[in-house]
Symmetry: none
Subunit: 245 residues, 2 copies
Amino acid sequence: MKVKEVADLVGISVRTLHHYDEIGLLTSEETTESGYRIYSESDLETLQQILFFKELGFPLKKIKEIISSPSFDRAEALELHRKSLLEKRSKLDNMIRTIDKTIQHSKGEIEMSNKEKFEGFDFSSNPYEQEARDRWGDKAVDESNAKINSLSRNEKKAWEDEFNSIYKELAEIRHEAPDSEVAQEGIKEWYDFLNRMGNYSLDAFKGLGQMYVDDERFTKNIDQFGKGLAVFMRDAMAVYADKNK
Amino acid sequence: MKVKEVADLVGISVRTLHHYDEIGLLTSEETTESGYRIYSESDLETLQQILFFKELGFPLKKIKEIISSPSFDRAEALELHRKSLLEKRSKLDNMIRTIDKTIQHSKGEIEMSNKEKFEGFDFSSNPYEQEARDRWGDKAVDESNAKINSLSRNEKKAWEDEFNSIYKELAEIRHEAPDSEVAQEGIKEWYDFLNRMGNYSLDAFKGLGQMYVDDERFTKNIDQFGKGLAVFMRDAMAVYADKNK
DNA sequence: CATTGACTCTAACGTTACGTTATACTTTAT
DNA sequence: ATAAAGTATAACGTAACGTTAGAGTCAATG
């Protein structure tokens, strides 16, 4: 097969094939006397492998190593690569959250209704405090309240922004499986956030999640970020709590 | 302030400042007669803005536009950028998912090949080979044996000895509870042994245990060490896998 | 006061994975 | 035979600096 045929077949450009030839990643088995590259079936298979690793985001150099050395430990390479991808992902998450905070903040010059947003954990100013005290004990609730009340306006604003950012993100991934990595990373943000304010045990966290669904006042507020978010959060929070015990 | 002072202050390199100068992103307000760049307070503020957008993953070109034109709609730029980050993230998620699948898949293959090794070992070195030949035909047995035989004699011998020793021990304690300390210590030997030859995850280990009961070929051979050993091992392996997660 | 060490400058190649011309030749179709 | 389509090599461009390399500058020390 000639370049264009191969290129069209696998959906890449002729230039790409030329490039792979240049860097020695994939040299056609045959060449006509006039210099045309002729690819064999075997070449095609190699190309498929190359494209596979390329889709995973491997650099061509690594792909070359992997392909050209059958003894290369692919499993290890995959594990390593996975880690680097996860790092990239968390960097991206940070960027997105920072953007969200910034957007929130600039919008926030107009003070939004604090109470709505804080209902999720502001037991100091809502009628559910007794329930919270019953459920998690006086100590946890008092601690949480003390912290919230000691915040300055700016601090409160910052919390709000972060709160919104987290919920926005969770709303975006609410159709993923609750035990997926994405979901668990998202819910971890929420857990960490809560624990920056008060002291939530994993059980308390799980219980809180359950309340999101049991108590329609919570459900309503939470689902404003996206329908079904409360249920998703309950499930993801339960998985998180069980997994991290 | 001179380059290095600024660079150290904000945590970037001198080269970066030079670069920003080159591309006209940030030119120092002043310059000494000898050509040294002297940055003003105002320059520093601009730099902070630049770094802020940079952290969000904006390309320098866009940052230049944003910075140099006060009329530029920052909010819109942020929203747009947010979208592109979300896309990148979902691409990353896809890559990660694909890697996970691949890893799972290859683990499965390792499991299978170990199974083959196991069979080969059993059938090539014990008196029941004839039975195996009768049941699955000469070809299958020979192929299986060939794989085992590619090991060096010493390797094979050591392997057999250890294998036998472990199974003998397990057979002796097979009437203990699968979650007892004795049983768990015994089964740990087996897990460690397997991981010296292949690569068994805890899940794979658990799955292998299940196979000991599901697949009568395994059951039969294992129970030659003692009736009920296969079932005992399956249970002990499951407990071990769950406990050590 | 000259030397030295720390600092600064410009210039230019290297990096990644091709896209994009530009120029010239080969093969295929009409 | 001639045009159209395909192929080849060569080389610049991209993003954001890192990394030498060679040369000049500034402040402190002997």
